[in-house]
């Protein structure tokens, strides 16, 4: 187990019995291996399983659900379910392609997993239908529903049996962006309300930020796949390891860090950490580290946390510690909602994004990038990201 994994487990300050889910497993298939997975979730925790296509997210979920043989141990609320068949694990699944039973009505789909008295079934289906806003669809056949409606039914079908763990495999990938946004909101509300423990596999960062408490990043290297980083969303995306930074488009730079006496740590304290000064070639920046240190350092800045200003402007900086960087624009790329800018300051290249309200014009233009120290996350290299 890696050091940051250990520290997360220690920091959580809980002993094993308090976890709702405790997974330790490996899966070996003919052309694919998933090694040394360790996941612990508290009751009601929402874990995003982030990884590129083919990184084994589905395999991991299906191993936990019991569809793939695996070695290791899966403890769910104190029950060892490693050897149990899927039908006795009390684990719900939701898939990207909905897999509603085509010959059954929406009502029958939802009622499928309920084996009790008819009145009870009717009441429970009605409850979950109200929760997922599908009361008006109960008599319909799945083929007549829209994608968003199908997925709401599929989630209702999984939730109605009150699973102790809900596994969702790219549940929103087949939906259009507007529906996806709607459904995220609904899922967030319902999952909180029912206090379900969830593992949600996705390659979409928006899913992670809008839903998850914690995140676990899977990466594939050749035939093997493993978890490269896990922790709270805030932690992982502030102090990403190199692979995660690359996957998520976070600026990841190598520099040299020093303790700084420049400022008191009073302001930074509320964000957690201590101020350090980093040298990136000829560029000097103030950033935060979990604990001040001196030595080779990784510097991580999320692209959306820059302020982009005309060259001659400065914003109000009461503490005099805002990083203000003069840059030259290398590349401007527009997407639907954002403008992506690649800019160079000395030997360093930053990637940042701004809303299109700012007119960033042409390559070679001079710009000023500003970024607050608490958004420049620094950790020592050659060791342990969490120290």
């Amino acid at each position: 187990m890696k050091a940051w994994q250990e520290s997360r487990l220690e920091n959580s300050g809980q002993n094993t019995e308090n976890f709702s889910l405790d997974v330790r497993l490996s899966v070996r298939l003919s052309d694919f291996e998933l090694e040394g997975v360790r996941i612990r979730l508290e009751k009601g925790e929402y874990l995003a399983l982030l990884g590129p296509t083919g990184s084994g997210k589905s395999v991991l979920l299906e191993a936990i659900a019991g569809f793939y043989p695996c070695s290791g141990k899966i403890i769910l609320n104190g029950r060892d379910i490693t050897k149990l068949p899927p039908e006795r694990r009390k684990v719900g699944v939701v898939y990207q392609d909905f897999v509603l039973f085509p010959r059954m009505s929406v009502y029958d789909n939802i009622a499928y997993g309920l084996r009790r008295r008819r009145e009870d079934v009717r009441r429970e289906v009605a409850e979950v239908a109200e929760l997922m806003h599908i009361e008006h669809l109960l008599e319909r056949k799945p083929a007549t529903l829209s994608g968003g409606e199908k997925q709401r039914v599929a989630i209702a079908r999984a939730l109605v049996t009150k699973p102790e763990l809900l596994l969702m495999d790219e549940p929103f990938s087949a939906l259009d962006p507007v529906t996806r946004e709607e459904l995220r909101g609904l899922v967030r509300k319902v999952v909180r309300e029912l206090d379900v423990t969830v593992i949600h596999a996705t390659h979409d960062l928006d899913d992670v930020f809008s839903l998850a408490d914690s995140v676990c990043v899977l990466m594939r290297n050749g035939k093997k796949s493993e978890i490269v980083q896990q922790g709270s969303v805030e932690e992982v995306f502030s102090y990403p390891v190199k692979e995660v930074a690359k996957l998520c488009g976070i600026n990841y730079l190598i520099g040299y860090a020093r303790k700084t006496e420049k400022l008191g740590n009073s302001e930074i304290e509320r964000f957690g950490g201590e101020l350090v000064e980093v040298e990136l070639g000829s560029l000097r920046m103030i950033g935060k580290a979990r604990k001040a240190f001196e030595g080779e350092a990784a510097v991580c800045i999320r692209p959306e946390l820059f302020r982009v200003l005309p060259y001659s402007h400065h914003s109000y900086d009461p503490y005099g510690c805002t990083n203000s960087i003069e840059c030259e624009v290398l590349e401007v790329c527009r997407s639907s909602r954002l403008v992506w800018i690649k800019a160079r300051a000395g030997e360093v290249i930053f990637r940042c994004c701004v809303t299109p309200s700012l007119s960033v014009g042409w390559n070679g233009e001079k710009l000023r990038l500003e970024v607050e120290p608490e958004n420049v996350c620094v950790y020592p290299l050659g060791g342990d990201a969490s120290a």
Binding site: R89, G92, V93, D97, V99, P102, R103, K141, A143
Partner: protein, 256 residues
């Protein structure tokens, strides 16, 4: 003439030729002679025998082809590819030789005493038709995403319960199609039945045997009549299938 015109012309020509050949069978005999033949004891006997044996064979084929096809589509097990090739074999295997193999095996080794009896007809039909049914069912089961079964199992149903409640209903079209084809194939089985059951007059005489026997006596009307009955029964089977399919679509088919 462009390439696509050439292709279409070839298909049109072949279809027209086949269609005319079938039509000629209907136009060739005197209708009164056909009616006369239909009333003959021999034809009535062989129709009854063919329909009975084919029904039994179809039931047996479906009963075994479903688990065979399902295991091939879902599970990996040692010898899986062997099972698959054995099932595919008779498609390229001459029917007559298949009959001979069964004759030697059942007659000389197992010595069950069913060779040259009516049960032998069922055995011959069963082994000729099984590969066809297993093939269709195999692709049917393969076409059903395993995730439907996963979803059902996560909702508390075991493997068998899931198979009964989810997989079988979703495979309904494939099961209909393969049973119709199996039945037609059983009705038409000739070589294997001839070798294994002997093709004895008014004993192990199925419709194709009637056709063959009467053709060799030079009794053309009887031969043509049994041919007509065979064709009609096949068409009826296809018609029934189409009707069932049609009514099925209205009540909501498989989600695509």
């Amino acid at each position: 003439m462009k390439f696509r015109h050439l292709c279409i012309a070839v298909s049109a020509a072949v279809t027209a030729f086949l269609f005319l050949a079938v039509l000629s069978l209907f136009l060739f005999p005197e209708p009164s002679a056909v009616l006369e033949c239909l009333k003959s004891r021999e034809i009535v006997y062989s129709i009854k025998l063919s329909v009975t044996t084919s029904s039994i064979s179809t039931a047996l084929v479906m009963l075994t082809a479903i688990p065979v096809a399902y295991s091939l589509a879902r599970y990996s097990f040692p010898g899986r590819s062997l099972v698959k090739s054995v099932i595919d074999l008779p498609i390229a295997f001459p029917e007559l030789v298949l009959g001979l193999c069964l004759l030697v095996f059942l007659g000389s080794y197992l010595k069950l005493g069913i060779v040259f009896t009516k049960p032998a007809i069922v055995v011959a039909q069963y082994f000729t038709a099984l590969p066809y049914a297993a093939r269709i069912l195999y692709s049917t089961f393969e076409g059903i995403s395993e995730r439907y079964e996963f979803a059902s199992r996560s909702l508390g149903y075991g493997e068998f319960g899931t198979f009964l409640r989810i997989t079988l209903p979703m495979a309904r079209e494939g099961i209909f199609a393969s049973s119709i084809i199996t039945f037609s194939r059983c009705m038409g089985t000739f070589g294997a039945v001839l070798v294994l059951a002997g093709g004895m007059y008014m004993n192990t005489e199925t419709l194709p045997i009637t056709l063959y026997l009467n053709l060799s006596y030079g009794n053309l009307n009887m031969a043509v009549t049994s041919g007509l009955v065979l064709i009609t029964l096949s068409f009826l089977a296809i018609l029934v299938f189409e009707l069932l399919e049609g009514s099925n679509i209205e009540t909501g088919g498989v989600e695509r």
